[in-house]
Symmetry: C2
Subunit: 297 residues, 2 copies
């Protein structure tokens, strides 16, 4: 006797790159019963085996099989591989398959996707879940990663509205809040709140580590140093690619930060306590307000 | 019938300022049975009452009483009040009382102490426990705050060696590791690993909050932003005083960071992926190494 079961939101999901981002996406949809079968694609057999053992994916498949079988494909491998993966997928894609990605920059991803997919570009909806960066690999994946987090979609004119609505529903199913904007706005905004801080943190860490008395400095570094430099530990390859991909926005935003730094430096130079305190107070109040609303503390 | 009990390491401790730093010091020594009685001094009656209720202190006293009764006095109020407090204490100090402090800068504290204490300066041993900054007040105090943390002492030539040894033992009793160095070395080192990051974090936060599209930026800010800007939420008054007190060291260290920033910016300008990656890798490896050794992750 068969029981009639409602079809899940995503009958077949394929995840290219089964690390923290892809693995957590699969885990979240599985937890909600929103996915039928999850196919894993990747370059490293050991990582795929691990994802299989952890139950994040149900099968290890080729790109060709993923293209033929999946209703939704999430690209969650390093962003530099986007063009090549899409070009390989294209010949096998069903016309109704939706592809999205998780890259930290969007203008370059859109360019790569247009070049690779040609007249199939309408099937690709660019995305960026703003979550998780410290940990990596399938063992770090967790169903709750996207709960309360923001996922940015930067849809293309070619994307059918039903496809956009579907992808929004899928991310909401993971507990995320979906925001829609243009790829350029995404990239300049992320240059400000993600890429520039990463650069500053890395530059600072580099400078401390390069000092002749770096051992002493490190010995006296406390919890403020720990927080400020945490992002500097991130993957050099991943961040090199982000900086190169979003180069002009990062450089331009950096000018603004340097102008603000000059102002603070001048106040300090002048031993102007009132201006210094105004400056620090504005920053402190803004940070406390953000902290109370972000749900990230 | 009386039981003979060994005298505690600190028969009578006085804490001036019973917030996180002073309260945790008292709590740590109480937990180890290393203190007989703890006297609390402060400007705000409510804070003192709270410390009393929490059992951090046993009595609320005046500075005069603290000077007359205490074997050890910890100054844990804002550093700007050091000269005034010491001048008020001086007439009542017993010749064997040891005073120390917890200020984030040391050169200015030493100057203030010399001016205030005159020929009693040998009784003052400057110190700086590198712990806790995010939370404040007696309710945040905890006996474990100093466990595994570094406490810097910058002793003066006038301090008797027995007094230095005693204070070292007291801090070790709180679980801390004591490092001894000159006040100037302390201040230049802290300028690097504490004051400059605070300035950069505040400047960055100020710049994001001042942008016309700050709401959008804040909405896309993730965990990297959270960590990088956490210190910017700190007390504007406290940090204004730290910057003013350690002005020249902070300004000079800032030049080094700006030089490093120019280097990274140039690599990005040139789209020089190899140099960018070298830079990021050096920073990432240094941060990971520090993280694995600091006990602060």
């Amino acid at each position: 006797m068969n029981t009639v079961v409602a079809a899940p939101l995503v009958p077949v999901l394929a995840v290219v790159g089964v690390g923290l981002i892809g693995g957590s996406f699969a885990a979240a949809l599985k937890e909600r019963g929103a996915v039928g079968r999850v196919l894993g694609v990747g370059r490293q057999a050991a990582t795929l085996e691990q994802a299989l053992e952890l139950g994040l994916i149900d099968d290890i498949v080729t790109l060709e099989q993923a293209g033929q079988q999946a209703d939704l494909i999430l690209l969650a491998m390093p962003v530099g591989a986007t063009a090549s993966i899409l070009a390989q997928l294209r010949p096998f894609l069903r016309p109704d398959t939706i592809i999205t990605d998780a890259g930290s920059t969007k203008v370059n991803v859109v360019e790569a996707a247009k070049a690779a997919l040609g007249d199939r570009i309408g099937q690709f909806i660019p995305g960026h879940p703003i979550a998780g960066a410290e940990k990596t690999g399938p063992q770090a994946a967790e169903a709750g990663l996207y709960k309360g987090r923001t996922v940015v979609l930067t849809p293309l004119d070619e994307n059918p509205s039903a496809a956009r609505a579907f992808l929004t529903r899928v991310w909401e199913c993971c507990g995320a809040r979906v925001m829609v904007m243009g790829a350029q706005v995404h990239d300049t905004t992320l240059a400000s709140v993600s890429h520039v801080p990463h650069l500053l943190s890395s530059v600072f860490m580099w400078q401390v580590a390069s000092a002749h008395d770096s051992d002493l400095r490190m010995a006296l570094a406390g919890s403020g140093f720990r927080d400020f430099t945490r992002i500097a530990a991130g993957s050099p390859e991943v961040w090199r690619d982000i900086f190169l991909a979003n180069r002009s926005a990062v450089l331009s935003e950096l000018q603004e930060v340097k102008a603000a730094l000059s102002r603070a430096e001048q106040a300090l130079q002048n031993a102007d306590g009132t201006e210094l305190q105004d400056f620090l107070e504005h920053a402190a109040l803004a940070r406390r307000f953000w902290g109370s609303r972000s749900g990230l503390t």
